[in-house]
Each structure stands twice: as C-alpha cells, then as structure tokens.
C-alpha cells in the first residue's frame, strides 16, 4: 500500500443538498454551447457562423495564437447564435441540437493497436478534447508543443457538494483504462493518479507501467491538483506539468476507443435550493435552464452556480454548464440587509473562525447564501489564510506581490505553483473580504504577458 499524504490545513464546508442517487428524468437537450471564457487567457477564433450545420466533433472555434487547439461541438445541430459581450467579445457559441446526434468519425487507433504519443496528441487536438488537459504553471490549456515533466490526474473532488467520482465513473472502467493508457504516452516522466486515502479508482492491472498511485487524506483542498503537485513533485521555474481530472480521462478514453466525440456524462445538481439533489445525465455545455427546470424549490431568490460554491461561475438559466464543470450548485441569493447582523449569535451562520458558534457543531450542514457578510477592507487579520492553504506558500505576501506588480517576487513566492482555485478557501475565510481569486488570476495573467 503506498504511503498516504496527510494534509492538516484546509476546511470542509458542509452544505445542505448533497447529490444523492441518479435522477432518471431526462434532461431535454435543446441548446448546448462552448464558452471561450471557460478557458484562461484564450483568444478565440471563430470557425463557424450562425446557421452553419455541425456534427459532434466539428470545430466551433480555435485558439487564435495556436490554431491547432480546436474547440468542437459537443452535439450535432445548427449553430444558433454567437453570443457576444462588450467590445464584441465572444461569450458563447450556441448549437441547437438535433434530435439524434450525428458524430464526426475520427481515425482513432484500432483495438489492440498502440498509437505513439504524437498521434494521440494530434487526435485530441483535432477532436477538441485537448482542452481537457491543462498545464501548470498558470492553469491554462496545455501547450501541445511542450513535454511535461509529469502528468497529474486527480481522482477525487474535495470541494463543497462535489460530485462523487465513483458515481460519475461507475460504468467507465474501459474508458478510464484507455484514457490513462493514452496519457501515459504523453510524458517521459510519471503519470500520477491521486486518489483519496482508502480508495482505489482502478484496479492496478488496468494501469499502464508509469502510473504511480498517490493517496491524500485531509479536508478540502486536498483534492485540488495544485495542492497535490506541491506535495508530490512541486513545479519549479522552467518546469511544466499537465493535469487532468479523472472524469475527463474517461472522455478522452471513450473518444480514443470509439473515434467519436461523445461527451455524454453525469452532472450533479446539488445545493439547498434543489428539491431532490441528484446526478443527471447530460452533455457538455448544456443549457443551465434545461438542467435545473422543475428541480428547484423557488422559495426565495436563488443563486445558480456552474461548478462549486468556491470556484464556480455565477450563471443565469440562459447560460451554459462550464466546460470543466460536473456540478451545478443552487443556493439562496441572500440579498437582504440584516439588522445588526454582525452582533447576532448567528446559529445558522457558518464561520471558520470561532467568533460564531458553528465551531461547536462540526457535523451540522448549513444552508449558506451568497451574501458578502460584510464589506471589503484592507488586510487586517493575519494567519487566517495559512489555516486553509496546505502548501508551503505565504499567501498574503504572494497577493501583495501581485498587487504591487512585482513579477520577480511573485515568482519567488510561488505563483507558478498555484491556480486561483487553490486559494479559494482563503477568499472564503477572509475577514476583510479580499477578492483573492481575482488577484491570483490577475497575477497569472501578468506573468503570462511579461514572460512570453
């Protein structure tokens, strides 16, 4: 049994409305979209216009700076609209799905045939599945021209109300095997498979030779791949690692075995405002309204989030499931002023600090809303961020270096090792309500601009 890496720092926020079993009611799939904004630092170049016919796997847009990286339609149908925002920025390419999906056929390796790494990369780029592979530093889509020192696959999600990968992947064993086998050829180094302590995502004889299974124990963010890398093989200046989520490995494997871009998958619908939190069967980029329709309590104004409550994106019903998301969380909006709210005992409130009684009830589940619970202030408290960041990084100093625009300091203090999601709990816990993730994202953007 391999050694378990035990993380002490972090925080499990227990929310009401964890997804239970599968919801058999089908999700109507009328509209699906790919959102260029799901990909950090991507400048999209459109490959279609409204009215075009596409098959599942036909490109919708590509990376302007590297046209080989394509983003393809998750369903077949007609391009309904190119949704644009300010300055004509492309927000979403929307496809109206056919009743029956037709797939573009890719010439994937025949069963039993071993394709070399280059061929796999080519196929993934062509099929639009390449963006499922991200890289560190910077948490962006992997650069197909580099060779990573290692690939890290995280096999669990520790965030609040996270979908259980065991449920997501219960019928995907062959796809996982094919996917891991393909990934193992993309690095000369190790393919790390990072599981929760006590779990085995796949039997060992299913795994390629250069796979190493690591186990992690501890509260969130133990499941964040950035934290895992930090403890296994930290990223130094000049190094690159690739990262993939285990459910995405299944999509890659399914594609390589079938030759089709088949992005059907389970998505969890969770949160206190969901009538019966459950797993739904849908396809990448589904319209949020179609997923949540008839499944919410509607007792007060609601916040719908694509992803989890810490890192997810606020969406409207007319928006679409994020490319990397397998969770939609619905919580109360909480947009009501609260009389002397800072002074009340706050039995229903949750706090990491012990200034609220929530620390006395460690197992209670909370119905938390999206209220700020305060106003933004300068950094006052110290030592708070450190409690929820299981990395040898001084978060406040890193943030200050970013705010000061000091590239060298940012690098010295570890910006190459973090993604905004790794410091999401710092933002949650912050007394001064500092927008931590936004600052980290701006730091990453700055690094990329200055160093390329």
């Amino acid at each position: 049994m391999p050694e378990t890496i035990k993380l002490k720092k972090g925080l499990d926020i227990k929310l009401e409305g964890e997804a239970g079993g599968e919801d058999p009611r089908p999700v109507p799939c009328a509209l699906h979209a790919l959102k260029p904004t799901d990909f950090r630092a991507l400048v999209p170049k459109l490959e279609v216009k409204a009215g075009d016919r596409v098959r599942a796997g036909d490109p919708l847009f590509s990376n302007k700076h590297n046209p080989a990286v394509k983003f393809t339609a998750p369903v077949s149908g007609t391009v309904e609209e190119i949704r644009r925002g300010e300055k004509r920025k492309i927000l979403a390419v929307v496809v109206k799905a056919d009743e029956r999906i037709t797939y573009k056929e890719f010439a994937t390796p025949a069963p039993g045939e071993e394709a070399p790494g280059e061929r796999i990369i080519e196929l993934l780029l062509e099929s639009g599945l390449w963006p499922l592979i991200k890289q560190r530093p910077y948490d962006i889509i992997a650069d197909p021209a580099t060779r990573p020192k290692a690939i890290f696959v995280t096999a669990f999600d520790s965030s609040p109300l996270a979908p259980d990968y065991k449920i997501l992947l219960k019928n995907e064993r062959p796809a996982l095997r094919a996917g891991l086998n393909a990934l193992s050829k993309l690095t000369g180094g190790t393919l790390h498979l990072n599981a929760r302590a006590g779990e085995t995502p796949l039997p060992a004889d299913d795994l390629p030779r250069n796979v190493k299974i690591n186990h992690f124990a501890g509260p969130h963010p133990a499941g964040n791949v950035g934290v895992q890398i930090h403890h296994l093989d930290p990223i130094n200046k000049g190094e690159t690692a690739w990262v993939v989520n285990l459910p995405d490995v299944a999509l890659i494997g399914r594609f390589l075995s079938s030759g089709r871009v088949d992005l059907r998958q389970l998505v969890a619908l969770a949160g206190s405002e969901v009538t019966a939190p459950a797993y739904l069967s849908t396809i990448t980029g589904a319209r949020v309204g179609d997923i949540v329709k008839g499944r919410l309590r509607d007792r007060e104004r609601q916040r719908v989030i694509s992803g989890n409550v810490l890192t997810g994106e606020r969406v409207t019903e007319d928006s679409f499931l994020g490319f990397y998301h397998r969770l939609i969380t619905v919580i109360p909006e909480g947009d009501r002023p609260e009389f002397l709210g800072w002074a009340t005992p706050g039995l229903e409130k949750f706090s990491m600090s012990r200034a609220f009684p929530s620390f006395l009830f460690p197992n209670k589940r909370y119905r938390l809303n999206a209220n700020y619970h305060g106003e933004q202030r300068a950094f006052v408290m110290s030592g708070q961020y450190e409690k929820v960041l299981p990395m040898d990084i001084l978060p406040v100093y890193l943030l200050k270096a970013i705010l000061a625009g000091d590239i060298e300091k940012m690098e010295q203090l570890g910006i190459l090792e973090v993604a905004p999601e790794d410091l999401a709990l710092c933002e949650f816990a912050c007394t001064s309500k500092i927008p931590v993730q936004e600052i980290i994202a701006s730091g990453i953007e700055r690094m990329m601009k200055e160093l390329t």
Binding site: V309, P337, R354, F356, Y372, D392
Partner: protein, 383 residues
C-alpha cells in the same frame, strides 16, 4: 425594524454624490452598515463567504476588553476611597469610577471617530472598524488623572500621525492606542509617571506608588501577589487586574481572534528574562528581589501581552515571526524595567519597538520561504 430600514433607504440618496448631504456620506454609510449588514452579494470568486467580518471581529475584542474596563472603573473608585479613607459602598465606588472614566472614553471616541469619519470622507473610503477598539484602549492605558484635553490631543496624534497618514486601519505601523500613550508619556511626563497620578482625587501631600514604581525606587513591592492578580492596585485604568485581562484573553483565544502564539511567546520571553535578571543581578540591585510572578502581574505586562502585542496589523504576520516578535517584546519589556534608569515600566516601549521591527522579522521569514523555493529549483535542475 422595517421602518428603520425604510427610513435609511429613503435618505440614502441625499448622502450620495451630488446629494444635499454628500459631505456626510462616510458618516451615513458607516452608520448604515453598522445597523444593517449590507445586502450585497458576491459577484466574482467564492459564491459563499465566511460569516465573519471586521465588525464582528472588533466587537469580540471590545467584549474581551469589558471585564478589564469594568474592573478598572470600579478600581478607580476603590483606590479613591482607600486614599481618602471614605467608607463607601461598592456601588458608590463604581459610580465614582464611572464618573471619572466615562468622560475619558467619550472624549477618545468622539475625537478619534471624528477624524476617522473625516479621513474616510476625504479619501472616499468606507469607515473602518479599527477605532472601535483603539478608542476604548486609549483611556484604558491612561492614568485616571489624565486631563481630558490631553487625552483628546493624544488621540488626535495617534489617529492622524499613527494611522491616517499611512492609509488608515490595516496600514499603520504602530499600535494606535500605544502611540497615543507614548505621545502623552513623552509630552507630559509628569502626568503619567511618579506617585501622584494613579489615583483619582488624591489628597495633597499623599502619594500612592504603583508596584513597579516601588521596585524602581528600590523599596519592596507592598501589594501581595493575590492583590496584584485581582487588581486592587494603583495603575492605568485597564491594566491592573490580571484576572480580568485573563478573562478577556480567554475570549480572544477561544474565538481565535487574538494570536495565542504572540500571547504565549510574550509571557515566555518576559518570564525568562525576569528569571534571568532575578538571579544574574547583584543583590544590591532592587530588581534582583522582584520575582517572575511579580513582573508578570505588575504594570501593563498582561494587558500589553493580551490586547496590545496581538494587534494583527502592527504585529508580525508570519507564524514563526509571531514567536520571535512575542519573545522579544517580553524580553525587552523586562529589560527596560530592570536595566534602564529612566522608566519603571517597559511594556509600552517594548511593543512599539517591536511594532517597528515586525516587518523586518516578517521579511526574514518570507526570505526563508523564497530561499527554500529557489534551492528546490536548483536541486531539480541538477537531478
């Protein structure tokens, strides 16, 4: 409560930019957000946020200060009754104390908050909650005989020079309350040291020394350890009762708002230094007779360790930095007491000195983190 909310909403526009009373915008929004936690919800980043905010944090600190404050008020009356020989009841002693202390608190809050509101208005900032604590701390570290105008002047100095010119709460280098005391201390030394300032209404010709002053003068410390622990001794208003300070410390430690690292390391540093001096000093030095417990119970040591050294803005902010910072405060405070011919008490100066050096300590800690990362990179390249 609905009518109050409606009232605030109705008058809000008058205070916004271009409104009739926009000069008082900071006052209005300060009051509004004090009465109602704003309805504002998250836009980016985490959708949910911890329930804690700076108002909650600061009110916990104020709550932690209350036992020491209430006791201090009572002690003012008690000491007064003691020196005048009046035989009065507990309630009357407390009321006498209240009559002396309440004006000091009011002056400190009115002066400090006015400056804060004005500064917030000038900068277009929101009012920061920091002064809620500072405004209470300032009278608590003053002798009860301090004239109100001196308190007003010290408060103004601390808020303007100590805080606002650096950018307000969170940006200051020195603890504002201690800076107020330091200003007072160096501007009007006769009003904050000696044997006559610690008791209100002291009859002419009488004197009443604090235990530290007794040690300083080379006479034995008169109050027993028990009296010093409960706090019925002369001293600054809030500092005398170690028991009440410990009550406050308990609240700060339970809530996690005060740093246990700083409190513990300050006590360790002070106790260690006191022990060392007790044995190292020659027998004719009066401080060789002051025990560790006497040092810890006397003067502002406990108050400083619990409420002043732990100010998160002016203390060291890294984990290891806090240990070094606290240890040095404890050590320096005792060194100033025992080895300095000028001042009987050293806690204030020790904390202000370490406030000054806290960024340097943190810099060293940060640098160690940077070096570790660079080294790790070098090892990786070589391999």
């Amino acid at each position: 409560m609905k009518s109050l909310r409606a009232f605030l909403d109705k008058h809000k526009p008058a205070f916004e930019k271009g409104g009739k009373y926009h000069l008082f915008r900071s006052v209005f929004t300060g009051l509004d957000s004090f009465l109602y936690v704003p309805a504002r919800t998250t836009r980016s980043g985490c959708a949910i946020r911890d329930a804690i905010d700076l108002k909650r944090t600061m009110s916990v600190v104020v709550l932690a200060l209350l036992p020491a404050l209430l006791f201090g008020i009572y002690n003012v009356g008690y000491q007064h009754a003691r020196v005048t020989g009046e035989d009065v009841a507990f309630v009357q002693q407390f009321l006498y104390g209240l009559w002396r202390v309440l004006p000091m608190i009011i002056v400190s809050y009115v002066v400090g908050l006015s400056i804060e509101f004005a500064a917030a208005q000038l900068r277009g900032h929101e009012i920061n909650e920091g002064f809620l604590v500072s405004g209470l701390l300032i009278p608590m570290v003053m002798p009860v005989t301090a004239p109100l105008w001196m308190i007003a002047l010290s408060t103004a100095f601390a808020v303007i020079i100590g805080k606002e010119i650096f950018g307000g709460t969170g940006m200051n280098i020195w603890n504002p309350a201690l800076l107020a005391r330091a200003f007072f201390f160096f501007s009007y030394p006769s009003r904050v040291s000696g044997d006559t300032v610690w008791v209100a209404g002291l009859p002419d010709g009488l004197s009443c020394a604090t235990p530290l002053a007794e040690a300083y003068q080379g006479t034995p410390i008169t109050p027993g350890l028990e009296t010093m622990f409960w706090g019925l001794i002369p001293g600054s208003i809030g500092e005398t009762s170690t028991f009440c300070i410990l009550l406050g410390a308990t609240l700060l430690l339970i809530t996690g708002i005060g740093s246990w690292k700083i409190m513990l390391s300050t006590v360790i540093g002070g106790a260690g230094m006191a022990l060392l001096l007790q044995h190292a000093l020659p027998a004719d030095n009066p401080y060789s007779h002051v025990t560790v417990l006497q040092h810890l119970l006397a003067g502002g040591f406990a108050f400083g360790a619990v409420f002043m050294a732990t100010d998160p803005v002016t203390a060291a902010q890294t984990g290891p930095g806090k240990w070094i910072y606290g240890l040095l405060i404890g050590i320096i405070a005792i060194v100033i007491r025992a080895l300095n011919p000028g001042y009987p008490e050293g806690m204030m100066l020790a904390i202000l000195l370490m406030n000054t050096f806290a960024p340097l300590i943190d810099w060293c800690v940060v640098q160690r983190n940077v070096t570790r990362r660079i080294k790790r990179g070098r090892v990786a390249t070589r391999a």
